[in-house]
Symmetry: C2
Subunit: 224 residues, 2 copies
Amino acid sequence: MTTQVPVVEQIMSANDQLAAVNRARLDKTGVFALNMMASPGAGKTSLITRTVEALKSELRIGAVDGDIATSIDADRVAALGVPAVQINTGGACHLDASMLQTAFSRLPLKELDLLIIENVGNLVCPATFKLGEHRSVLIASVPEGDDKPYKYPVMYRGVDALVLNKIDVLGAFDFDVEYFRQGVEPLNPGLAFFPLSCKTGEGLDAWLDWLRNEVKQYVPGNSG
Amino acid sequence: MTTQVPVVEQIMSANDQLAAVNRARLDKTGVFALNMMASPGAGKTSLITRTVEALKSELRIGAVDGDIATSIDADRVAALGVPAVQINTGGACHLDASMLQTAFSRLPLKELDLLIIENVGNLVCPATFKLGEHRSVLIASVPEGDDKPYKYPVMYRGVDALVLNKIDVLGAFDFDVEYFRQGVEPLNPGLAFFPLSCKTGEGLDAWLDWLRNEVKQYVPGNSG
């Protein structure tokens, strides 16, 4: 099996190169890009629609929605009146930099401040494929269980912010927030953490403040 | 990128060959193997512990638990007094046939009737890697949302049974069971469907009857 390894490394390297090209293009047009990752059903699209609703009067937002099939997610975001592009990966389990490059050609990049990228629902593979984003966010959710940082360390290790969605149902599940955070801390010390509910709106303000501030502090070509 | 395609096909084919070797070994020792797949946190381990508790007096059961890290799941199953082997994949997003082969060497196969294999939590990648199992089961869960068959068709297309877990929280989520089933039907017509709650025990009997019957009807070397 060792003969396969160089091929994998070569693919990863090609993706990293293309991610750098994407980043340069975003920086040239002054667009801050956010890569949102999560398990299937954690609430990526719900958080994106909440975020767009809250910030679209102050920021020019566009969205890219990655899914294996359907345009359900992009349709939900586009319904808010912002440009949204659906990427259907076919069978692929993550977005990669070349897919984002394809999406660029269908977006008015020069007219955007913030590009929100919704990755394929998957707690493993998206972690290792950079797209060219400036920041990445992981959305965990209460029904998934509090042991996920322990079981999926790679994803938790690599992100810039962590959302814990569906806190409105904490009472219905055996979810120990302290145990969850203790699992995250050694992987990603001091990680920005936003417990919230997209359903009730509780906790959303802190998340929006963080994102607003990231976009404000963004200096094209000088971030990372 | 076209130069990569034959390599991918070669890997898949090697896995299929090894899965056939695993199947032959299972059939030689008369062990019925079940591959359980799901998103992270859908309740794979909970369903396995419920199943072991219910059937261990009538069937000799062993378990293989796949995770990227930790032995949390295998520990939970082993606590019930059945042989359980943890496979840590490192970073890999699915079990493959070679990993199962490794687990075989640490299991008393000749003393088992049923081997339950818990795959890595992932709604995409495990679908395309056969392990040598006789039947595969997908565990969906209410909090994930009712649109998952539409978005992750490959997984829904390939399984022999579908569990919908966490029906005890149907009231707290906007989950339309009919819309969910309408998504499944064209992908996998007539698929055995078991809505249940591992928490309350509701619906478990129908699932257990199905599994009991599959093991009973199993003729080594003549299944598939």
